[in-house]
C-alpha cells in the first residue's frame, strides 16, 4: 500500500517537474521594440517593423532560439521622443522584455538610453547619429552606419582621384545638416578644402542657382551633395541641365533605384557610398555580405511587394545580433547577453560585418559602405 502511494507520489512529482520544465521551455523570449511607425519618420519605422515581424515569425517557424519562441512586443512612438521614453519604460517594467530594439530616430533612442542603462537591459538602437555610441554606454549598441562614415567614404574616393577642392551642397533638413556638420569635421583629414558651402530646402524644385554658384567657386574640382529623396534627384537633373563637367558625389541618402529613375541620364557618372543591401545584385558572388543581403531582399519583396530599404536592414541586423548573442550566451541572462553582444565578431549583417568591442558598440568600419557609380542606368561597384 505504502509503496504504491510512494510510487504514485513519485509519478506525480516527476510529472510536475516535467510539466514545469516544459512550461519554462515554452516561455517565449521577449524582444521589445519602440519604433516610429507613424509620423514624420514613418518611412524609416514602417519597414523596420515589417522586418521585425517577418523575421520573428521566420525564426519561430524554424524552431525559435534555444528551443524557445521569440515574442515581439512593439509600440509606435509616432516619431515623438517623449513617447519613446514612456514606451521603453513600459517594455522594461510591465512587459519585462529580455532585450530592447528601437529608437528609430536619434531623439527617440536618446530618450530610451537612460532607462535601458538603469534597468540593465541590452539595447540595440536603429538610429544614425554617432552620439548613440560615442561615448560608449554599457548596455547600448547600434546597427546603422553614421553620416560621418558616409562623408569619410566620399572624401576617401576623392583623395584617390586627386581632388582637393570641393563644393558642398546640403539640404536644410535634419539629414543634410547632420551630414554637413560631419563632413566639415572630417574633410581636413583628407587634405580637402571646402571652397563653397550651399544649402537647399528639401522641397525646392530648382537648384541651378546654387549649382551655378558652386561651379563658379575658384578652383572647385567636385560637388558633394548631402541630401535624399526628390531634392537630391532634382539637384542631379539640374547638374545635367547645366552640363557641369566636375564630378558629382551624392551621399548614401540617395542610394536607391528610385534615384536613378528620377534623375534620368543626368545620373550617369554620379558616385555615392552605398550599403551592400541596395546593390545586392551588383555584388560579386564572393562578397561576404552577398548571401545575407540577397536573402533579406527576397524575403522582404516576397511578403510586402515593395523594395526593401536600408532602414529595414538596420532592424534585421539588430534582431539578428541579439539572437546571435543569446545563442552564444546560452541563456537570456541580460548581463551574459550584453557581454556576448560586445564580443560579436565577424558577424555578417545587411549593413556590414560587425566587430564589436568594449570601445566600439557599432562595430562597423568603412567597408560597410561600397563606392558605387551609376553607369547605363544601373549600379557599378568601384571597390
Amino acid at each position: 500500500m505504502i509503496h504504491r502511494n510512494i510510487g504514485k507520489a513519485l509519478v506525480a512529482g516527476v510529472l510536475f517537474v516535467a510539466g514545469a520544465s516544459a512550461a519554462q521551455a515554452e516561455d517565449p523570449i521577449k524582444i521589445g521594440a519602440v519604433l516610429s511607425v507613424t509620423g514624420p519618420a514613418s518611412y524609416l519605422g514602417d519597414p523596420e517593423l515589417k522586418t521585425l515581424e517577418t523575421y520573428v515569425k521566420k525564426i519561430n517557424d524554424e524552431g525559435g532560439v534555444l528551443g524557445r519562441k521569440l515574442q515581439l512586443v512593439h509600440y509606435d512612438d509616432g516619431t515623438q521622443a517623449a513617447k519613446a521614453n514612456s514606451f521603453a519604460k513600459r517594455l522594461i517594467e510591465s512587459d519585462r522584455v529580455d532585450a530592447l530594439i528601437g529608437g528609430t530616430t536619434t531623439g527617440a533612442t536618446m530618450a530610451m538610453v537612460p532607462l535601458a542603462e538603469k534597468a540593465e537591459v541590452p539595447f540595440v538602437s536603429l538610429a544614425g547619429a554617432i552620439v548613440v555610441i560615442d561615448p560608449v554606454k554599457k548596455w547600448v549598441f547600434k546597427t546603422p552606419h553614421t553620416d560621418r562614415m558616409a562623408a569619410e567614404k566620399v572624401f576617401e574616393d576623392m583623395k584617390k582621384r586627386g581632388i582637393t577642392k570641393v563644393g558642398l551642397l546640403s539640404d536644410t533638413g535634419g539629414f543634410g545638416q547632420s551630414g554637413y556638420k560631419e563632413a566639415k569635421q572630417v574633410v581636413g583629414n583628407y587634405g580637402i578644402t571646402l571652397v563653397a558651402e550651399e544649402t537647399y530646402n528639401p522641397s525646392d524644385t530648382d537648384m541651378t542657382a546654387q549649382l551655378t554658384k558652386i561651379n563658379g567657386a575658384p578652383g572647385v574640382e567636385a560637388v558633394f551633395v548631402f541630401g535624399f529623396g526628390q531634392g537630391a534627384a532634382i539637384v542631379t537633373r539640374n547638374y545635367g541641365q547645366l552640363n557641369m563637367r566636375i564630378p558629382l558625389y551624392q551621399s548614401h541618402g540617395v542610394a536607391s533605384n528610385e534615384f536613378v529613375t528620377l534623375s534620368g541620364k543626368s545620373a550617369e557618372g554620379v558616385r555615392m557610398p552605398t550599403p551592400a543591401l541596395l546593390v545586392a545584385d551588383a555584388l560579386p558572388a564572393d562578397d561576404p555580405q552577398k548571401s545575407t543581403v540577397v536573402s533579406y531582399n527576397e524575403t522582404y519583396r516576397n511578403i510586402y511587394k515593395s523594395d526593401p530599404s536600408t532602414f529595414g536592414g538596420y532592424a534585421y541586423d539588430a534582431l539578428a545580433l541579439i539572437v546571435d548573442a543569446i545563442k552564444r550566451a546560452g541563456s537570456t541572462d541580460k548581463a551574459k547577453v550584453r557581454d556576448a553582444l560586445e564580443q560579436t565578431g565577424g558577424f555578417v549583417g545587411t549593413t556590414g560585418v560587425f566587430n564589436m568591442s568594449p570601445t566600439d558598440h557599432m562595430g562597423l568600419d568603412l567597408t560597410a559602405f561600397r563606392m558605387a557609380e551609376v553607369r547605363n542606368g544601373t549600379w557599378k561597384l568601384l571597390d
Binding site: 514613418s42 518611412y43 536644410t172 550651399e198 544649402t199 537647399y200 530646402n201 522641397s203 525646392d204 524644385t205 530648382d206 537648384m207 541651378t208 542657382a209 546654387q210 551655378t212 554658384k213 563658379g216 529623396g229 526628390q230 534627384a233 532634382i234 541641365q241 547645366l242 552640363n243 528610385e258 529613375t261 528620377l262 534620368g264 541620364k265 515593395s306
Partner: protein
C-alpha cells in the same frame, strides 16, 4: 558674370512659373466665394500623382493626364458637395478651415493608396536644355509659362465676357442679391470647385517633369502659390502670375548673390512688405470695403 545672372534668372523663372500656375488655381474659388482653398495644392499633387500612377499601369501619357484631370475635377466636386455645401451658412473662415481638412484627407489617402515614393513624368518636348548666352533653361519651363499665359487669358475672358463668369463674380459680391436676380449660387460654387480642381490637376501634370511629384508636394506648391497670389493680388489672373514670377526670381537671386541659407526667408519678407504697403497685392484693386 552675365551667364551667372541669366542662370539665376532662369532658375527663378522655372520656379516662379510653378508658383504662378499654383497661384492661378486659387483665383476661381476666391472670385466666387472669397474662400482661399487650401486644398488647391492637393489638386496639383493629384494631377501629377494620378498621371504618374496611370502611366505606370501602361496608359499612354496624354490619355493618363486627361484621365487624371477629370478624376481630380470629380474630387473637387465631391469636396464642394459633401464638405463645403453642408456648411453653406458658415462664414468664410470656417470654410477655409474645411478646405484644410479636405487637404489633409486627400494627402492621407494618396499616401496610403499611391505610396510615399517620388515619381516623375517624361517632359513633353524632350529634356535637352535650351542654352542662351551660357545659361540654360528646360523646354518644360516654356510649357509651364505658356500654359499659365493661356490660363490667364481664358480666365480674363471667362470672368469678363461670359454670363457664367459674371454670375460667379456676382455670387462672391453678394450671394443673396445674386439669388434674387436668378443665379443658382449652389451650382456656381459647385462648378468653381470643379474648375479649380481641373486647373490644379492640369498644372500638376505640367509641373511634374520639373518638380517631380509625391504625396506631399502639394504642401509646398500650395503655400508658395498662396504667397504668390497674395503678392500679386488675389483674384487677378495677371497679378498672381506676376506675383509667382517675382517670388521665384527673388528667391533665386537671393540664393545666387546673397546665400542660399537666406532663400527660404524671401517669401515671408515679401509677404510682410506687401501686406504693409499694398494689402490688396501689387495688381489688386485699391483698398476698399466690399459691399
Amino acid at each position: 558674370m552675365l551667364a551667372d545672372f541669366l542662370q539665376f534668372l532662369f532658375s527663378g523663372i522655372t520656379v516662379g512659373a510653378a508658383y504662378a500656375l499654383a497661384a492661378l488655381g486659387f483665383t476661381i474659388i476666391y472670385n466666387t466665394s472669397g474662400v482661399i482653398n487650401f486644398a488647391q495644392g492637393e489638386f496639383i499633387m493629384l494631377g501629377g500623382m494620378l498621371s504618374a500612377a496611370l502611366i505606370a499601369t501602361g496608359v499612354p501619357m496624354y490619355l493618363a493626364i486627361a484621365l487624371a484631370i477629370v478624376a481630380t475635377g470629380a474630387v473637387g466636386l465631391i469636396i464642394e458637395k459633401f464638405a463645403i455645401e453642408p456648411a453653406k451658412n458658415a462664414d468664410v473662415i470656417t470654410l477655409i478651415i474645411i478646405t484644410i481638412g479636405a487637404a489633409l484627407i486627400i494627402r492621407g489617402l494618396v499616401q496610403v493608396f499611391l505610396g510615399k515614393g517620388t515619381h516623375s513624368l517624361p517632359p513633353f518636348s524632350g529634356d535637352q536644355p535650351v542654352a542662351f548666352l551660357g545659361a540654360t533653361l528646360l523646354p518644360q519651363s516654356f510649357w509651364v509659362l505658356g500654359v499659365s499665359f493661356v490660363i490667364v487669358v481664358l480666365l480674363g475672358w471667362f470672368f469678363g465676357a461670359t454670363t457664367f463668369g459674371k454670375a460667379m463674380l456676382a455670387t462672391s459680391y453678394n450671394k443673396m442679391a445674386s439669388r434674387l436676380v436668378g443665379i443658382n449660387t449652389k451650382v456656381i460654387l459647385l462648378l468653381s470647385f470643379g474648375l479649380s480642381a481641373i486647373l490644379g490637376a492640369a498644372g500638376g501634370a505640367i509641373l511634374a517633369p520639373i518638380t517631380l511629384t509625391s504625396y506631399d508636394i502639394g504642401i509646398m506648391l500650395g503655400l508658395k502659390g498662396f504667397v504668390a497670389a497674395v503678392l500679386g493680388g488675389m483674384g487677378s489672373g495677371v497679378g498672381v502670375v506676376a506675383g509667382g514670377l517675382i517670388l521665384g526670381v527673388a528667391e533665386a537671386m537671393t540664393a545666387g548673390y546673397l546665400s542660399s541659407s537666406y532663400k527660404d526667408a524671401v517669401p515671408f519678407v515679401l509677404i510682410l512688405l506687401i501686406l504693409f504697403v499694398r494689402p490688396n497685392g501689387l495688381f489688386g484693386p485699391p483698398s476698399s470695403e466690399r459691399v
